[in-house]
């Protein structure tokens, strides 16, 4: 579908959804987003003098990792109600006929997501200094969200008698066994390590599941919004802290938390904001788990390309990024 066609279909969808004529302008695709498309546009709604700046999130086609637009929409709404900085969501397009794939439309929040800008641009020097503490405090808020009150019963939860860590390890082990076109002894070694180092079950909370630089919208003052909730589930809150420390999310930066902060600083801010005591050994487990998970996601993305579902060079090249993650796993495994 061309941008012009999408713009036209978007206008007729919003016209139906709002019950008044809607004019669309400036539709443009935002960079990045291997597993879904993100488009920015301006919409002038009937009776509103100023156009609204909006964002469309749309599935590009079949993907290997679960991603359900409706659930992401509901989670964003619940997170906002609980004081987590996220864009406000407006319309959910459950009918894939309307725009060729499932989608939702949300508020456009101005800011940057590119890690290399955060790490290098002079404009973000202050942001680099305050971000780790902000992220720790936001995580504490996410983990305090009551999923039963907020109607998020659909979230995947730890299997009965299994515990969060074992459930998550098994989830990605199953994905790996179903998808990997060739054997990966390093991933086997990591799975074996994880199975023999499971942390004792602790709190069970909402887990963002993809809390990292790249999914954080920031400006000169630091965090503006937390994006990409499609991997949210119920589990061990320390999973999010470990994922935040995964090497891939440092983007070449020198420090362990997103390239910009120290682990101690993240943990202290989390505890101070009411997140509960952080056991660094358990976070280490989740960091190793996170690297295994990222390796499996790289393989899954490459598999999507290999199966011909999405003709994307970016997905194809992720197959070769698996080597970086395997190298990091070999560094973490003792």
């Amino acid at each position: 579908m061309t941008a012009a066609e999408l713009s036209e279909r978007l206008a007729s969808y919003l016209t139906r959804a709002t019950g008044g004529a809607v004019a669309i302008a400036g539709l443009r695709q935002l960079p990045g987003g291997a597993s879904r498309e993100t488009w920015a546009f301006e919409a002038t709604l009937a009776g509103e003098p100023q156009p609204r700046r909006l964002v469309l999130r749309r599935d590009p086609g079949p993907t290997s990792v679960d991603s359900d637009r409706a659930h992401e929409f509901q989670i964003l709404r619940a997170a906002r109600a609980s004081g987590v900085p996220v864009p406000e969501v407006y319309w959910l397009g459950d009918d894939p006929e309307a725009l060729g794939a499932r989608f939702f439309i949300m508020e456009y929040v101005a800011g940057e997501t590119l890690a290399r800008r955060l790490l290098r641009d002079a404009e973000y020097q202050h942001a680099r200094g305050v971000m780790t503490a902000q992220l720790g405090a936001i995580l504490a808020r996410i983990h305090a969200l009551d999923t039963t009150v907020q109607g998020l019963d659909f979230l995947a939860a730890p299997r009965a008698g299994r515990g969060a860590a074992q459930t998550e390890v098994e989830r990605y082990e199953q994905l790996y066994r179903g998808l990997a076109p060739e054997p990966h002894p390093v991933i086997e070694l990591a799975l074996r390590w994880l199975e023999t180092h499971l942390p004792a079950p602790g709190r069970e909370t909402l887990v963002h599941g993809d809390f990292r630089i790249g999914n954080v919208l920031f400006d000169a003052d630091g965090v503006r919004a937390i994006l990409d909730w499609e991997l949210a589930h119920r589990g061990d809150p320390l999973e999010d802290l470990g994922w935040m420390c995964v090497k891939a999310w440092r983007f070449g930066g020198p420090l362990p938390v997103g390239g910009v902060g120290e682990r101690d600083e993240l943990f202290a801010a989390y505890e101070q904001a009411g997140g509960g005591a952080v056991d660094p050994a358990a976070v280490h487990f989740w960091e190793l788990f996170g690297n295994m998970k990222w390796a499996v996601i790289c393989i899954a993305q490459a598999r999507t390309f290999l199966d011909g579902g999405v003709a994307s060079l970016e997905l194809a090249s992720l197959g070769r990024r698996t080597a970086e993650v395997e190298h990091e796993l070999m560094r973490l495994i003792d």
Partner: protein, 145 residues
């Protein structure tokens, strides 16, 4: 025999064209994808140059590991005069089969401790280093600092 430029020289020329001439003319999103394309070409160049030698070394290391494991199991292991298959497709298939065998041993707990674990870790560190020498040598340099 084909005339010069060689395969590697042609690929380098295409990569230079993408980086120097194409990237500056594109919008941000396509620039990102064009850079990904140039990077993929660089991977292919390095693999054409060093891939076969690496694969032969991985095969040799894996055969040695299998011999250690077979020795422990008390099975036969006359692999001293082994040479890797000459045909690249056969070699690749042989390495896949050996990796499947190693993966199964790890899964069964054979590499949980002791000298076999040490040998497996040593082999896998060498293998991941080699994979990075092709997929992303800059990452390996950074990580070794």
């Amino acid at each position: 025999m084909q005339d010069r430029p060689t395969t590697l020289e042609l690929l380098a020329a295409v990569r230079d064209f993408v980086t120097r001439d194409v990237v500056p003319t594109l919008d941000a999103r396509r620039q990102f994808h064009a850079r990904v394309a140039a990077n993929v070409l660089a991977i292919v160049e390095r693999e054409l140059r060093d891939g076969d030698a690496q694969l032969r070394e991985e095969w040799t290391r894996l055969r040695t590991l299998c011999a250690v494991a077979a020795d422990r199991d008390g099975g036969p292991h006359d692999v001293d005069d082994d040479v890797p298959p000459a045909d690249p497709a056969t070699l690749r298939a042989a390495v896949v089969a050996l990796n499947a065998d190693l993966a199964a041993r790890i899964r069964a707990g054979d590499a949980d401790h002791g000298s076999f674990r040490a040998a497996v870790l040593h082999h896998l560190r060498a293998t991941t280093d080699d994979k990075l020498r092709i997929a992303n040598p800059g990452y390996l340099e950074e990580a070794s600092r």
